[in-house]
């Protein structure tokens, strides 16, 4: 492998990390409140609302069931509208974020549902407002599980970001595809795959350690 290719892989790593981290953070900004909403509007919960819950659940399921590669293509006009381009690292962040929001929302929902109903009952008996119940009871109690979910989501987004290589996105995925696959440079393919595996490992380990450190039960 030439020096140029190594340099390219180096910037690919940075692009991949950019795409992954920025998209995940953006997806959490939207997905966390949506996940909370999914839980608290559920049956018998503090802000029970059947209509909101049903609509939200359905939209999340629809977006989640569209294969990411298709979503990439479908969202091209929208991406162009937001970033002015439909190719490159920045452009990839748009579909990555949109595709990840429902995954984050469902992950958050399942973490928050682990909080025993007794905790919520105790909160209500203390005279906690719905906002207090959410921010002072449910979220702190679900924190270890939320962190673990965060690590899983990062790894998922990383996998998605590699797919973006197909339609002109940047990052390691694009390098693996263009050099490793189309130009039969097996060594490039191998190296990029190994790096991707390593990054996922690091994310997952960091999440697990952080969650374990936070968990007191």
């Amino acid at each position: 492998m030439t020096e140029t290719i190594w340099k390219m892989i180096g910037s690919g790593v940075i692009e991949t990390l950019q795409m992954t981290v920025v998209s995940t953070v953006l997806a959490y900004l939207a997905g966390l409140p949506l996940g909370v909403l999914l839980v608290v509007t559920g049956k018998g919960h503090i802000l029970q609302n059947r209509v909101v819950n049903a609509i939200l659940g359905t939209v999340m399921n629809i977006v989640r069931s569209v294969p990411f590669l298709i979503l990439l293509v479908v969202l091209v006009p929208f991406t162009r509208l937001v970033t002015g381009s439909s190719i490159g690292t920045t452009a990839t962040i748009v579909p990555l974020t949109v595709g990840t929001i429902p995954i984050v929302a469902r992950m958050v929902e399942s973490s928050l549902k682990e909080v025993p109903p007794g905790i919520i009952e105790a909160a209500e008996s203390m005279g906690a407002s719905p906002a207090s119940v959410i921010f002072r009871f449910i979220i702190p109690e679900a924190m270890p599980s939320l962190l673990l979910g965060g690590a899983i989501n990062l790894a998922t987004v990383l996998g998605y970001s590699a797919m973006a290589g197909c339609i002109g996105g940047g990052g390691l995925g694009a390098i693996a595809l263009n050099y490793g696959w189309y130009r039969y440079q097996t060594d490039v393919l191998l190296v990029t795959v190994i790096i991707l595996v390593l990054i996922v490992q690091i994310f997952q380990e960091a999440g697990t350690i952080l969650a374990a450190k936070k968990r007191h039960s």
Partner: protein, 345 residues
């Protein structure tokens, strides 16, 4: 003990009906009762009797289907969400499962109710430490709930409940998950708090021993209805309803071993005064009739020792009359026990 008779809670024809598709459950059925300021009030019943639903209507964790719950002069059903939250700050609750936040320290748990009420932070900490001292756990302030035993966790829950200086403490099976020794400790702590702070306490339980140990008055709930209400002593010595008798009679399943279908049995209840006299020995001596003691036990009810005994009477009717006459003359409380009554326990 309660001195004034002003009612903190007034329940007026409270009913709670749970409806599902084709099933209707009357969990609470037309219950009216008063809970007085400063007393320890017990609500006892078998599991499924509706007592947990009833206690949840007291702080409106459960809305009533009909009737009114009046707390401190306010009809809870009329309050808006915000008003209700303010009222709830003056009514604390502890639970069978403790319901502490596992991801917060003991101190942070006790500070929570004050945090919700926007009490200044310094004051939160100071008062939380003070409450931990009341329950004897000031040394555990920085521990995590998972590091504590069940009894300690319930103490933390009590400290948390007391933090906002409530008017009433609702205890929902608060000792049911604890062993007898720890139960005893928690109950005496509650007794102390009741006396020192003149705090009204409502205790939901299925264990008669809890009621006997600390309650002033008790309501017996059976199938959602109020079966009997009165002072613990009253109900213990002369239970009128079947539901009350079921709870108070010792669960002598062994009685089934005896063939007493053809014999008459009586349940004798003595209080501390009468227990000092050897009633049975004197009875045998005075009447010359032999009675058979099937079971006996003693309990402390409101600080007075009570003994109860189930005695099998002689076969002959004349002899039975002589025995009953003697006991009556001695002024000892007794009533006839029917086998079904015992078997039903």
């Amino acid at each position: 003990m309660y001195t004034s008779q002003s009612a903190l809670f007034q329940l007026r024809n409270v009913s709670k009906i749970f409806r599902s598709k084709d099933l209707e459950v009357r969990a609470v059925d037309d219950i009216s009762l008063d809970i007085f300021q400063g007393e320890i009030f017990g609500i006892i019943g078998m599991s499924g009797a509706g007592k947990s639903t009833l206690v949840r209507t007291l702080n409106r964790l459960e809305d009533v289907t009909s009737g009114q719950v009046i707390f401190d002069g306010q009809v809870l059903g009329d309050l808006s969400g915000k008003e209700l939250r303010l009222v709830r700050r003056s009514m604390a609750m502890i639970f069978q499962g403790f319901n502490l936040l596992t991801q917060k320290t003991v101190l942070a748990n006790v500070m929570l109710p004050m945090k919700i009420a926007h009490v200044p932070r310094d004051e939160q900490k100071e008062r939380a430490l003070q409450m931990l001292k009341v329950v004897g756990l000031e040394s555990k302030a920085s521990a995590w709930p998972a590091q504590l035993s069940g009894g300690q966790r319930q103490r933390v829950a009590i400290a948390r409940a007391l933090a906002m200086n409530p008017k009433v403490l609702l205890c929902d099976e608060a000792t049911s998950a604890l062993d007898p020794k720890i139960t005893e400790e928690i109950l005496s702590l509650l007794r102390d708090i009741n006396k020192k702070m003149n705090l009204t306490i409502v205790i939901i339980t299925h264990e008669m021993s809890v009621v006997e140990r600390i309650c002033d008055r008790v309501a017996i709930i059976s199938e959602g209805r109020l079966a009997e209400i009165g002072s613990v002593k009253e109900i213990f010595t002369s239970p009128k309803t079947e539901a009350a008798k079921h709870l108070i009679l010792p669960a002598e399943k062994e009685l089934n071993q005896f063939d007493i279908t053809d014999r008459r049995c009586i349940r004798i209840v003595f209080d501390g005064r009468e227990a000092s006299e050897p009633l049975i020995a004197n009875l045998v001596e005075a009447t010359g009739e032999k009675v058979n003691i099937l079971c006996a036990n003693t309990k402390s009810v409101g600080g007075v020792g009570f003994g109860q005994m189930i005695v099998e009477l002689p076969k002959e009717n004349e002899a039975v009359e002589r025995v009953l006459k003697y006991i009556r003359e001695k002024g000892v409380n007794f009533h006839e026990v029917h086998l079904e009554e015992v078997k039903g326990v």
